[in-house]
Homo-oligomer: 567 residues x 2
């Protein structure tokens, strides 16, 4: 067989939508067949969407998966396909890759390495498989594997590839995005290719699912570890690629637990040739921005919303979120609300108007001063004597939250919140106030990166889409006269690296101070992060873009007296 | 050795508080020694508290555990002890039982069965151990085991007990409460005792930790499976018990991976004899009520609060929560707030006053009518023409939520929410409104059980602590004229069993209908449960009292198109 034409189908399914997902797979199968592909590869668990979480505990869900797989198998007339699905067998559930051929299901490979760290809970659901599944397609020996199987040195897949002299390794993945993840993935896949001497075809999932974004970027890596081809990112893609492989003869017969299936040599590919190609690389800001756009758009659409509403304060956070939303959903589907108080400066209010005009989105004004006044009058007696403090600041934020939710309830718009990771980490935000909403677009974006993304947005637009005055003004919550973030917090250039060390790297207080930070500052930041776990627990979901996001990635108790070095 | 005097120390540690936990253990060790015990047994992971979650990923946390264990070891002068802790060894972490004796650490047993279902994520953190650890204490052969080791038929502990002819099995546990769990535990421990022919001493943890309550109720079961002794529940306890055991001779030497440690025969126990005894049994309502009291009290205290505040509507949910809070924290530490609107009936308002008076708690009144009027005036233009609907109902609930939070911010009181499991399940509650608060006392209590608990409270009090009119009035949210829950929902006697079947038992729609419910009603309830996942995700924590609570117990995606039988 001179040439194997492979098709990596990087699709965007919806969790639990078997009918739509099966139809999506069938559509890509048709395209792959029309493009002359011999083998079409679909991502991990794409038939049910990833991660299905506790839907896997519903017996009916597993039965419905079987039915959907039968439907997909019928759509493989004239082609061979590998499709990820959840397989139930004698009371056990496996994370499996179905091998489908010309209308029939032939066999399944069951993932042997189940990740149970970070955002992953696969040992909650799946039993690990045993042994490799190999496919001989017209003389080319191909090993099937699933995601984590490639990430564990010395895995059963590595053993099976070597023991059976596989030439190609297929890996179907659902590998979530964080900044820099593609580079890491390439490294992992290259290492596996070199260790096994196989050409690796890595098909990744696409799309947003709650807090996760799957960025695609499917890969083909040669046996020397070099990058051969690379699919688009943040978009569905069908990457066709001709692989020229030496016909291997006299290969050993696999021994149990490995299995081999032989399929006849397919006819030479039809249509024009499909040489390896690489989608252009992306810088940090671009990949993060695209992740926010995809994650937000998919959350809104997949949850049945069309329009979103957000508070537009004239600050940089809400300006960035508005830009992301307009890009994800179209400007007609984004409504900004400005909710001025006595502490709102003329400048921020006018910047909110400019920002709305620049994006071409509707802007509603709802002043909160009168509402605050009545609250304070009604609470006068209960509050008693003494100066008012944070309770009045929080009331303002909560009146704004209520106002957005009232518009949401009346018009069916999803509320986007605009808090960044730095303030979420230290609790510089108000529960049921600025934290109130359905989706927290930049909750995993540190403030310093918010600035970089704003610059990126303007560079992409070729003009000041986000007004320079928004970028230049010192950040402020504007909840009391002359308030500045830096009255309460260290500068973000100091705060963010401390947060990375503590939150993402689990470093201890003295280890962080040893990086060159004032121990007193580090202590205070660590204290704030720990004390505010209760707030984050009630936050809406938002796009994960760092190696460790708040949420399923970082599971800390609220009740927690572990305070090393606090005092 | 005629008699082994064992002490089961069912203690209430705080997660992460090594100093306090080590001191607590040392105190119980002293008591056990004073009581003449040979062997004192402490619960699973009690040195760091359970579950420590991602604190286990911090290297410093594991180092601090080692230090705390050394401290506890020193406190074992003159006694032998088994203490649960997290053990780090060569980069692996184990869920271990330390065997301490006369001031020194001798060895550790590592749990072999790691639960990774329901509320448990142990495979995220721990490596399973290999082989059993046996202790020969003056001729009595004792096997160590940890929690799940007893729950898995054919576990390594079962093998090790049989292979080494153990006479006693020690099991240290952190087994969270749900209604009926004690019965289940007894069954499991009895089965193990019978299968292995060992006398089982089962020491359970005590106390509330976020959503979990550990109810104690430590057990001693004879080799025939009969109940010998049973410690108190929902209280710390040191249960001393004399075990008369035949001296065994000629026992086989354990083979790897099992190990045996021999300690000399301790002197005969000092002090009065300690015959087996059983704490009185509890009915369903009593155990649930005690769980709510312990869980709420521990959450409030362990998080550094003294007082709580809650909205007292005159309805049954808030009345029950107020009773729980007063019992947990003392009446001086509970503040009720009544927030009447134009839709509040005279009867409910007066019932709120009676309830506060009955409990002897402070009652604050903050009317919300004027606040609502200003909101509606300021939102008039944005809302546009057309009749007002749910947005006005939700605004009222949110004004109340804001009011409670304002009092919380001003005075440092923790807000208790009062929603039950039935309304949480179907989303009959307002985000940032009645859902706003720090702890949701009855979030896992179905409405029908709320009524049973109210009756129990009154029976315990010997008078109408909760006024009969509160119990008799048809439930209403009072957010529009003449509103009743049953306008929107089926009667709770129908709703609750449907919810149990769907939420707790993962039954499919037709299976629930086959239990005798109207298919259309079942369909609507299932639809509401699924659609409201986003609301529950932003709910505060609350006490788990059913086999499957919303929260870490039930992890469903928000973005979820799985809708079998909806249409």
């Amino acid at each position: 067989m001179p040439t194997l034409r492979i098709a990596l189908a990087q699709i965007n399914p919806v969790v639990g939508d078997f009918a739509a997902n099966a139809a999506l797979i069938a559509g890509f199968l048709r395209q792959a067949w029309q493009g002359g592909a011999h083998l079409a590869v679909f991502p991990e668990l794409c038939l049910c969407g990833y991660p299905p979480e506790d839907l896997l505990l519903k017996p009916r869900f597993l039965a419905d998966t079987r039915q959907a797989l039968a439907q997909v198998a019928q759509a493989t007339q004239g082609i061979t396909a590998v499709v990820g699905y959840a397989e139930e067998d004698q009371g056990q559930v496996y994370n499996s890759a179905a091998l489908l051929h010309d209308g029939a299901w032939l066999a399944s490979y069951r993932k042997t390495e189940l990740p149970n760290y970070g955002v992953f809970d696969e040992k909650r659901y799946f039993t690990p498989g045993q042994g490799g599944l190999l496919l001989d397609l017209g003389g080319v020996r191909i090993l099937l594997s699933i995601c984590e199987d490639l990430w564990v040195p010395g895995s059963d897949s590595q053993r099976a590839a070597l023991a059976n002299q596989a030439q190609v390794t297929i890996n179907i993945s659902a590998s979530p995005f964080h900044a820099g993840k593609l580079e890491l993935r390439r490294q992992i896949v290259s290492d596996f290719a070199r260790r096994t001497g196989t050409l690796v075809c890595y098909a990744n999932l696409l799309g947003g699912q709650d807090e996760l974004v799957f960025d695609g970027g499917s890969l083909i890596i040669d046996p020397q570890g070099g990058l051969l081809a690379c699919a688009r990112r943040f978009e569905q893609d069908l990457m066709l690629c001709d692989l020229d492989l030496p016909e291997a003869g006299g290969l050993p017969q696999p021994k149990a637990p490995d299995r081999l299936l032989c399929l006849p040599a397919p006819p030479a590919p039809a249509g024009p040739s499909a040489p390896p190609a690489c989608a252009p690389e992306m810088g940090l800001e671009e990949e993060v921005y695209r992740a926010l756009v995809l994650g937000t758009g998919d959350y809104v659409r997949k949850n049945g919303f069309k329009k979103v509403v957000l508070g537009l304060s004239g600050g940089i956070d809400s300006s960035l979120v508005a830009a992301v939303a307009a890009q994800a959903l179209g400007r007609d589907n984004v409504v900004g609300v400005t909710m001025p108080s006595q502490f709102t400066s003329k400048e921020t209010r006018s910047d909110a108007e400019v920002m709305a005009a620049n994006l071409g989105i509707r802007l509603i004004t709802v002043p909160i001063k009168a509402i605050l006044a009545v609250y304070l009058a009604e609470l006068e007696e209960a509050f008693g004597p003494g100066p008012r403090g944070v309770e009045v600041e929080n009331l303002q934020a909560r009146i704004r939250g209520n106002t957005l939710m009232a518009l949401s309830n009346r018009f069916g718009w999803l509320v986007l919140t605009t808090g960044n990771k730095s303030e979420t980490a230290v609790g510089y935000c108000t529960l049921y106030g600025d934290m109130a909403g359905g989706f927290a677009v930049i909750k995993d974006v540190p403030k310093t990166l918010v600035y970089q993304l704003a610059a990126h947005v303007n560079a992409q637009a070729g003009h000041e889409l986000i007004p320079q005055s928004v970028i230049d003004r010192p950040p402020s919550a504007e909840l009391r006269p002359d308030q500045k973030d830096e009255d309460s917090l260290p500068p973000y250039a100091v705060l963010d690296p401390i947060l990375t060390a503590y939150v993402e790297q689990d470093k201890a207080l003295d280890e962080i101070a040893a990086l060159g930070f004032e121990p007193g500052v580090v202590r205070e930041i660590v204290r704030l992060v720990d004390l505010n776990e209760y707030k984050r627990r009630q936050a809406p979901p938002g796009v994960k873009i760092t190696p460790k996001a708040f949420g399923r990635d970082r599971r800390l108790p609220i009740t927690n007296h572990y305070r090393p070095g606090w005092d």
